[in-house]
Symmetry: C2
DNA sequence: AATATAAATGAATATTCATTCATTTAATAA
DNA sequence: TTATTAAATGAATGAATATTCATTTATATT
């Protein structure tokens, strides 16, 4: 018996994300992916049933992996300020250390694959987050609000900064680099918005 | 001479966006679009040079149209609170009244077309916004910060709420509807974050 | 070392898709 | 009304793309 080359499997996953981020769904093909990996296109069909299966499996694995990292050292019983800061730390680290994956998952959001990925994976993740917000409300640390409002104020600015960082130019003409100063300065603003 | 049917041209534009939003770049084809419009594919090639040209032209026209609406009644010399409120009003109205266009332009952001669209159109728009922020800083209404930080705190929560609204389910299982209350409640939070 | 077995492959095949072409249709201008 | 002209079309065409297949290759087991 010949064993499957796990490095090759991993390579396929990485290159698939790279290629999708680089040329978008509109340009992505199985042949390009195979060429990029320097393997036969037939090999892709040993690993995956078809193109959809490939994209979906890669997406699910990465979404799961990333959401696990995002919960590291996070305690939903922690105080609001400490908990939120930990969330920012995890999310920023996670995205900045995995730029391809982060951009790939972002890209998924406006594709037909979104539903399958987000429907299944991210659920206990959401529960933890909801519990954290409810705790903060019950303790009187923040005012009552809808979870969607909370999420939008608490995290959308962070995701947006990271996006500007990846795009490298954002609004003005000059490249934007997300420094620690900018990151934590923004965090303070968000904290100010949410705290009573 | 036979005149071009402008209703048909408009129909193509609308259906193109609808289809792209519905089935993503990965599923979009010229034949599907033609069928959707109940016209011949060949007609598409009278209006547009090729597929890229079609997507790009539709995108540019819509991006320009939307960014014009977003600046209606906006005065970069207005006070910070008044100006930001007007921006929120315009953007919310614009996206909620043009859901397809809004989602289509969102989708573009993670495609290869992004560069061409955003590079050209949105520039004087950005200048106006930058001027408004600088004014607010000079008047001492807000603290000095990078334009990217400002944008991320001032608008990312709004865009995120609208996205949740379109997705219709967002975080929890129940559908999320963006009410006026949620919208303006969030605005107050953002204002609190930014004002000195 | 020999065998067995799945991995891996290069070269098809089959399908989908963008694009073109030969005609027809409708509207304008004469 | 007729001639003219571009719009509009249905049916190709050919290129790109997903997928399969007949072989070969490598490795674990005996």
């Amino acid at each position: 018996m010949r064993a499957r080359d796990l490095n090759k499997v991993e390579l396929v996953k990485q290159k698939a994300m790279e290629l999708l981020v680089k040329i978008g769904f509109e340009g992505f093909t199985m042949n390009k992916l195979a060429k990029e990996c320097k393997i036969s296109v037939a090999t892709l069909y040993i690993y995956y049933k078809d193109k959809d299966d490939l994209i979906l499996q890669v997406a699910m694995e990465e979404a799961e992996r990333m959401s696990n990292v995002m919960l590291e050292d996070f305690d939903p019983e922690a105080s609001f300020e400490v908990g939120l800061k930990q969330q920012w730390k995890n999310r920023a680290k996670c995205m900045l250390e995995n730029p391809i994956t982060a951009q790939f998952l972002e890209q998924l959001r406006t594709s037909t694959y979104q539903e399958d990925v987000y429907g299944t994976i991210v659920n206990n993740f959401k529960l933890t987050l909801g519990k954290f917000m409810t705790n903060a409300i019950n303790r009187g640390e923040i005012n009552p609000m809808q979870l969607e409002v909370y999420w939008s104020v608490a995290f959308a600015p962070l995701y947006n900064l990271v996006r500007f960082h990846f795009e490298g130019r954002s609004i003005g003409g000059k490249p934007f680099i997300l420094t620690d100063e900018a990151l934590w300065g923004t965090f303070e603003l968000v904290l100010k918005a949410l705290k009573k």
